[in-house]
């Protein structure tokens, strides 16, 4: 893990409000596993001051790291002002990633919106496995096309309003697909907004399918030091009442999380 100024190679819009930033870091490119994240310092001033966490969405060759991000507030807005050639302070790779997909199983990657980011990296690193990549968006205009971000991932799309692909939530699409396989032969990996994660978990629970969830919370340190990033744990599965997303996560077994609290 490093904290370094990294040179930005490109920072371009790839979908509405969605950008792909590429920077150079041999250390992170070689070390990172899918599901891990980095903390980026947005600017020199102190508004905003805290770093922002972003999943690694892929690496290129020996030293290029890629982040796919959506503009939702001042930090992500500030990030769009960075140009190729500028430097950015990067801390990472951080956290625990996804466990490696079993090549003998049917692996379902289920993305909600920008949650596609870590799953693209998981896909990239596991091309030989049997991967079903499902991703949900609110509407066709918001679809993030992996191709524009430099990925050859083929994904089945669901849109809430039915304007493209499967008509409905991605969990509906998942339910349809899961029916076709035996639970013991399947595994789900998911990332997206909290309500969607909960729906995916419910579906997996119903079908008795194991599921790894990538969680999001506010973070300050990213290093397990501040204890700011906790989620409630399911005390029937875990001994401690809270789990630290930055250190024990961001990827968790769905059974370790208390999905009723928020």
């Amino acid at each position: 893990m490093i904290e370094k100024l990294c040179k930005i190679l490109s920072n371009n819009q790839v979908a509405p409000d969605t950008y792909l930033i590429r920077f150079s870091s041999p250390e992170i490119a070689s070390e990172a596993v899918p599901g891990q994240f980095v903390m980026l310092r947005i600017n020199e001033g102190f508004d905003p001051s805290l770093r922002r966490p972003f999943s690694i969405c892929g690496v290129e060759g020996e030293d290029v790291v890629k982040i796919l991000y959506k503009v939702v507030g001042k930090g992500t807005k500030g990030l769009t002002y960075k140009d190729a050639g500028d430097s950015i302070s990067v801390l990472g790779p951080l956290g625990k990633g996804f466990s490696t997909p079993d090549p003998l199983k049917e692996n379902f990657l289920v993305a909600g919106g920008i949650g596609i980011a870590p799953l693209l990296f998981l896909y990239q690193k596991n091309k030989s496995a049997k991967i079903h990549f499902l991703s949900g968006f609110r509407t066709s205009g918001e679809i993030i096309d992996p191709g524009t971000a430099g990925f050859d991932a083929e994904h089945m799309i669901a849109t809430d309003d039915g304007s493209a692909g499967y008509d409905g939530r991605v969990t509906g699409l998942l339910a349809e697909k899961l029916e076709q396989y035996k639970p013991d032969d399947t595994c789900v990996y998911t990332c997206g907004p909290h309500p969607m994660l909960k729906a995916v978990r419910d579906e997996c629970l119903k079908n008795n399918v194991p599921c790894q969830v990538s969680m999001e919370t506010f973070m300050a340190c990213g290093l397990g030091a501040c204890q700011g990033c906790v989620v409630k744990s399911d005390l029937t599965a875990v001994k401690t009442p809270y789990l630290h997303v930055c250190k024990e996560g961001p990827v968790f077994d769905m059974n370790n999380i208390d999905w009723e609290s928020k």
């Binding site: 893990m1 490093i2 904290e3 310092r41 102190f46 508004d47 905003p48 001051s49 805290l50 770093r51 302070s89 801390l91 919370t217 506010f218 973070m219 300050a220 340190c221 290093l223 397990g224 030091a225 501040c226 204890q227 700011g228 990033c229 906790v230 989620v231 409630k232 401690t240 009442p241 809270y242 609290s261």
Partner: protein, 308 residues
């Protein structure tokens, strides 16, 4: 240059190789930053506040960013004194820096007991008393808001320890000097300030507080001017050394606190923004001394020039 400036400082009988410590709650138990910086360069590490029993902490969300600062309501989550001694202290003992244990209790007796447990423990170089927490015996009133109660906590700890005692003051008071003098008289070897200012934030879409605990503590550059003024006032009011804390992000900030009267500083929120902040500050202090021809950093302490 073979002979750099002398940046070591003496806080009573606690000697630090340089005046830069990391602040409680922002640096875990040291280990968390091990792969990012050389911990042996630090003047000291103040560990996360420790209580007698393990504490789970507050429900999330526990942090929220604010302009040039952040609010936290961690709820003093920690693994308890026994867990600390068993799981965390051994690593800290391997380091060439000072370990300061920040303690908090829910009653005066708990503070005294904590001091007792730490008595004679090798590898613990000082005790810092966090009095910015609710006093169960007094219906949840914060200990540190009452100078008399603060004095009694100080006495209880000082009377039950063989370590230097640092009392960490809350800024949420009318007269910081009254508090500072009260704990000095009660036997504090040193005071540190400031802890966080109480604040809150509200989500206007839901009408709910943004912190699970409703209110929290404000830290970061936003509070630096307030911290600096309190350190200035406190340093004039007491004879014991003062440790400056609050929004210190750079060497320049640290120097302001030294000039105002601090003998050392603690770096908190800066560790999140720049995990190397403490090291950058140490380097900056050395450069400043060199540029200004200052032989010993202790000369800076209290050198403020207030002639109008």
């Amino acid at each position: 240059m073979t002979d750099g400036p002398d940046i070591s400082v003496k806080l009573g009988n606690l000697n630090l190789k340089n005046p830069v410590m990391t602040a409680s709650g922002t640096f875990g138990y040291g280990k968390e930053f091990d792969s990012v910086i050389d911990l042996n360069r630090l003047g000291g590490i103040v560990v996360k506040g420790i209580s007698l029993k393990p504490m789970p902490g507050n429900p999330p969300p526990r942090i929220v960013e604010t302009p040039a600062g952040m609010l936290n309501a961690i709820g003093l989550a920690n693994l308890g004194i026994d867990g600390f001694l068993k799981e965390k202290l051994p690593f800290l003992k391997t380091l060439d820096t000072k370990t300061i244990v920040n303690i908090y209790g829910h009653s005066i007796d708990e503070y005294a007991e904590l001091a007792g447990v730490l008595k004679g423990v090798d590898g613990v170089d000082a005790v810092e008393i966090n009095i910015s927490c609710p006093n169960v015996d007094k219906g949840g009133l914060v200990f540190g808001k009452d100078p008399e109660v603060s004095a009694r906590v100080t006495e209880a700890v000082a009377g039950n320890t063989d370590k230097p005692v640092i009392v960490k003051l809350t800024p949420n008071v009318s007269e910081i000097t009254v508090l500072a003098k009260a704990v000095e008289q009660a036997g504090a070897d040193c005071i540190s300030l400031i802890n966080t200012l109480t604040g809150m934030a509200i989500d206007i879409e839901t009408g709910k507080p943004k912190l699970g605990n409703v209110s929290g503590g404000l830290s970061g550059p936003a509070i630096k001017p307030v911290a600096l003024h309190m350190v200035y006032q406190a340093a004039k009011a007491v004879k014991i050394p003062v440790i400056g804390i609050g929004g210190i992000m750079t060497a320049e900030d640290a120097i302001e606190f030294l000039i105002a009267g601090a003998s050392a500083v603690q770096v908190g929120t800066a560790n999140f923004v720049n995990p190397k902040a403490s090291i950058d500050i140490i380097d900056g202090l050395i450069k400043y001394c060199e540029r200004k021809g200052i032989g010993s950093i202790q000369e800076i302490t209290g050198s403020i020039n207030v002639d109008k």
